[in-house]
């Protein structure tokens, strides 16, 4: 089989599954689970090709260069695809148990989720500016109905706010695309860098609009206001997807575009500005996470903070920072997925997620708390987790470039993360008061508990297997060594 069939399959098969599920009109979780399994196999099958040749390109439609749409699987895309595929398996197993008895919600989940998976794959594989716009919209419009699965009455405010910001963000992005097309005459990321004339106002303005649009979609600090309610209010499986993958997809685009087509347009000052936004996000998000009274909001604000780390690549722009930022994306994705799934289990058992009334759950929810703790290790950045490797790389970069202020940010961020993770764990392990009221909820089935744990273990393992993965990633395309 030709290797370039694989990227095409990664987009089209999930779409096919989603559409068939929509037409069928009754939930088929098995189809969904087979799909995520096949998806993982396809991604794994991509690895040798990318490792040998550096990248696999598929031409859609067979048209010639400036016109055609290409799918590109390079190291960066492959790692994000791998993260998506691993999370997809865990989340699907979790969802199979979570929506077992709810016909309507299950049908909607199993329709939207394959479509979202296909959209995410399409986004990671895209090599075309306008294509990215459509996939961004696709991801958003699959994600918001999924948020509504928690009950439209409760989540409608959060969903509406999410939609408004997402729509504005993507139209600002589109305005930037229009300006860049006017200058370069092509939408292909690979051709854009060469085709753009040097430092015109239109080029710089286009690049800035593109970046601002993506920052809104990625919920970076001044634009984070829509995130906590949406991620905190969604069902656990959906929160995991949103926090680990959907906002990450936007952050990924920033890395992809900055180091590639926008490279001739960006300046060191812009890099420092983005880094400053990232640092603010880390400190503000962590502090907010520490102050929250509800578990899922703690985890949601933690996402605001953790996304900030990926921005620290931009001021430093060396290979170590590149690797650190991407690795942070992977580690955070796995750990955050585990945290949200575990939080969902706690919510299921208690019937609420108020931190102060959470004590005494250590025995019935031992496995879920194990997942929470292990994932917390990675979020805090303790060895030997994936989070540690990422932060170590970022620290190395900050020392290497002599930008000591990021070192301080990284250390403070780690401390604050430790504070909010341990706060949750301490409350969970406190002895219950004497007269424990009857628990209204149920002990989550093993499938739900273990799918969270598997993700958390993967987040730890990520710290051990870093060498081959980083080799696969390589260095930034346009950046300096």
């Amino acid at each position: 089989m030709r290797p370039d069939v694989l990227p095409v399959m990664l987009v089209f098969l999930p779409f096919l599954a989603g559409l068939l599920q929509f037409i069928a009109g009754r939930p088929a979780p098995r189809l969904g689970n087979v799909l995520v399994g096949v998806n993982l196999l396809l991604v794994l099958a991509l690895i040798p090709g990318v490792a040998d040749e550096g990248a696999i390109v598929a031409n859609l439609g067979g048209w010639s260069e400036p016109l055609a749409i290409h799918l590109l699987a390079d190291g960066l895309a492959l790692l994000m695809l791998l993260l998506t595929a691993l999370l997809a398996v865990a989340v699907s197993l979790y969802a199979m148990a979570a929506w077992r008895d709810q016909h309507h919600d299950a049908l909607r989940f199993w329709t939207l989720w394959p479509l979202l998976l296909g959209s995410l794959n399409a986004l990671f594989l895209s090599r075309d500016l306008f294509n990215i716009y459509v996939t961004l919209e696709l991801v958003t419009l699959a994600a918001i109905p999924l948020v509504l699965l928690a009950g439209p009455g409760k989540t409608v405010d959060a969903a509406l706010r999410y939609l408004l910001f997402a729509l504005l963000g993507s139209l600002i992005y589109l305005a930037g695309v229009a300006l860049l097309y006017a200058q370069a005459g092509t939408l292909d990321l690979a051709l854009l860098a060469d085709a753009l004339p040097d430092s015109t106002l239109a080029g710089s303005l286009g690049a800035s609009l593109i970046i601002v649009g993506i920052l809104i979609k990625a919920a970076i600090l001044p634009f984070h206001v829509w995130l906590p309610a949406a991620h905190g209010g969604a069902p656990a499986a959906v929160s995991a997807i949103l926090s680990a993958l959907v906002v990450k997809a936007a952050a990924y685009l920033l890395l992809r575009l900055w180091s590639g087509p926008l490279d001739p347009l960006v300046t060191p000052a812009a890099g420092q500005l983005l880094g400053a936004l990232g640092a603010l996000a880390i400190l503000f998000g962590s502090w907010q996470a520490f102050r929250q009274e509800r578990l899922k909001l703690v985890v949601a604000y933690s996402t605001v903070a953790q996304l900030g780390y990926m921005l620290l690549f931009f001021p430093m722009a060396v290979t170590a920072a590149w690797q650190g930022a991407v690795y942070h994306g992977l580690a955070h994705g796995l750990a955050k997925g585990a945290l949200f799934l575990a939080a969902g289990n706690i919510l299921l058992y208690l019937g609420h997620d108020r931190l102060r009334e959470m004590r005494g759950i250590d025995r019935p929810l031992a496995v879920s708390l194990l997942a929470f703790g292990l994932a917390g290790v990675s979020i805090m950045g303790l060895p030997p987790s994936g989070g540690f490797t990422a932060k170590w790389l970022l620290l190395t970069a900050s020392v290497e470039t002599g930008q000591w202020w990021w070192t301080i940010t990284l250390l403070l961020g780690g401390l604050l993360a430790a504070a909010y993770v341990f706060r949750v764990l301490r409350l969970a392990f406190l002895q219950p008061p004497e007269n424990v009221p009857d628990r209204p909820g149920m002990v989550p089935p093993p499938l739900m508990a273990w799918s969270a744990t598997v993700l958390a273990v993967l987040a730890i393992v990520l710290g051990v297997v870093s060498a081959p993965l980083l080799e696969l990633l390589g260095s930034p395309v346009g950046g300096s060594e």
Binding site: A159, L160, L164, L168, L174, A178
Partner: protein
Amino acid sequence: MTGIEPLAVAAAGLMGIGLYGFCLCRHAVRRLLSINLFGNGVFLALILIARRLPDGPDPVPHAMVLTGIVIAVSATAFGLALVRRQARTRGDDET
């Protein structure tokens, strides 16, 4: 080409006014309208850009506009359904 193209000013102005409305309006329908104003500005800009080709308008931006209109309208329709649902939920709460 010299001189100012009036419709280019209109495109830029629509984007500016749309952004202004998004920042200052509170009601969701008004914000949706503002977003669509911004979008209309972008579409107008794309159509102006398409005219730069010497032999006939450039079909690529035209296709982008057509795709963009459908996406914007379907997302806005979804937003309006959310607004109706929100109003209903609030109405139920008050009674």
